[in-house]
Amino acid sequence: MSEPTRQRTNLLRLALHYFRFNLSAGMAYSTSFLIQVFGMALNNGAFIIFWLVLFDRIGAEIAGYGFTDVMFLWALAASGFGLSVVVFGNTHQLSRIIYTGELDVYLLQPRPVLLNVLLSRTVVSGWGDLLYGLSLFVITQPMSLTGWLLFLLFTILMALVVTAVRVFYHCLTFFLGNAEGFAQLAGELVISFMLYPGSIFRGPAAWLLHSLIPAAFVAYIPARIFASFDPGTLLIVLAADAVIVAAAFLMFRLGLRRYESGNLIGSRM
């Protein structure tokens, strides 16, 4: 086996190991696990009423989006965000890990630092988001093999991009001291914007949604591709998402050069 192939296999094994470990740790408190999962699914479900009422009241599309289109955005946002926090559940702690010096513990381990940090924790309620997103997709969208494949692809892309955006802004902590609040806000903004029809935003806001808050590349354009498949547009989305993920890795690498150990003594069990 060549060296890069061996590294990729090791990484996949690490991810699967973390996934299994985090899932079993979460399920150790089974009642709490189920309450959190179903509580989150119910929590998300409440917003359907808002959209039902709104579409019922105006009796027309909103800037080219019908009820089903908006539900696609919600299904994608919930499943993509859910997958992101289930797999990369430590992302929201990244700033704290950097400014407390806890990163030392990860630096000493023979695994890629960033992925090791991100994978090492899960957020149990993310399963509720994931469950809700998949259910909403099944209930509100026309079923076809292509549709499913596209939805799963966009869910994975969304999970990667949301994680990457949060990592990117958390890495500002390397340069600014503590960017925790800022990174949290950026993550919330991507999700908040993508839950509304993209065409309602115009001018500078639309530009922002194609750059610093890239909701367009994880939601609006995928929704368009889902409604009417176009391989060229899909390639553009894949390329844009790859750039966002690469930017996060680059930012972390640049930040790591400035990182100074906090002399914190810690261990990971």
């Binding site: 309450i35 119910l42 929590n43 105006i58 609040g181 903004l189 908040s192 509304y196 806001a205």
Partner: protein, 262 residues
């Protein structure tokens, strides 16, 4: 004497909150962005229409600044309450010479009322810039402030009840999600209840969730003496009911409490 005790807790919490105000103001960017999203959405929804369900675009946006200010100003007091139950600190807290539930409500309100002022000011600025001034804003101001404080108090009391559920449930956050979403939807936080079909609007208006969002906000944007009195009456009724529920829950919880060691 008793009232003074709780007034002191309230004022100390308020003064503490001033220290954290700068970081709270930074977090308020989310509030401004949400208002911008609402503005973008409602601008398209209204199109050329002057009113929908009796609300003008100006009233709808101002309504949303008030409901969001009520929601975002609230400190999550169910977190420290449930934490105290889980780690056992509550054994010390309940021995102190005050009502445990009232302590947390007063402390929460002290923080909330300090936080709601900048939210209302920012809401005033951004709504004026986006859709123009609200007709009758100033004349309804004193009444609006009273019912908004009442709405926050209804929400805070609900949170105290959720916190006490930690005696029976390991994780209380899902209860908060459910109550919060009931306030969002049935309480009219995202959309005035008047937009709902008649049968649903009639039910929603009578729920406590509406007195935590819809009634206070609609009182300010479409002020009338009658609406103000309904809002105050409903808030007092539900506060009395929730105080009773909290007292009964607390009594049952203390009976369940086992204190081991020291």
């Amino acid at each position: 004497m008793t009232i003074r005790k709780y007034a002191t807790i309230f004022s100390i919490a308020g003064r503490d909150q001033f220290v954290y105000l700068p970081s709270f103001l930074v977090r308020n960017v989310f509030f401004l962005i949400i208002l911008f999203i609402f503005y973008s959405l409602w601008r398209v929804v209204y199109g050329d229409a002057n009113t929908i369900a009796g609300f003008t675009m100006v009233q709808t946006l101002w309504y949303l600044t008030f409901t969001e200010a009520i929601e975002l100003s609230q400190t999550r007091i169910f977190n420290p309450i449930s934490q105290e139950v889980k780690d056992g600190t509550i054994a010390y807290s309940i021995a102190r010479p005050y009502s445990y539930v009232l302590y947390w409500i007063c402390r929460g309100m002290g923080e909330n009322l300090v936080k709601v002022v900048p939210l209302l000011l920012e809401g005033f600025l951004i709504a004026t810039i986006m859709v123009g001034p609200l007709p009758g804003y100033l004349s309804a101001l004193p009444f609006g402030l009273i019912v908004i404080a009442g709405g926050i108090l209804v929400g805070t009391t609900l949170q105290a009840i959720i916190g006490l559920l930690a005696f029976w449930f390991e994780e209380v956050m899902p209860f908060w999600w459910i109550v919060q979403k009931l306030i969002f939807v049935i309480g009219g936080l995202f959309i005035p209840i008047d937009f709902y079909p008649d049968w649903l609007a009639r039910i929603a208006r009578a729920t406590p969730f509406a007195f935590a969002a819809y009634w206070p906000a609609s009182t300010w944007v479409a002020f009338s003496r009658e609406r103000f009195l309904i809002t105050i009456g409903g808030q007092v009724f539900y506060l009395a009911l929730f105080a009773l529920v909290a007292a009964l829950l607390f009594r049952a919880a203390v009976r369940k409490l086992h204190i081991q060691g020291g």
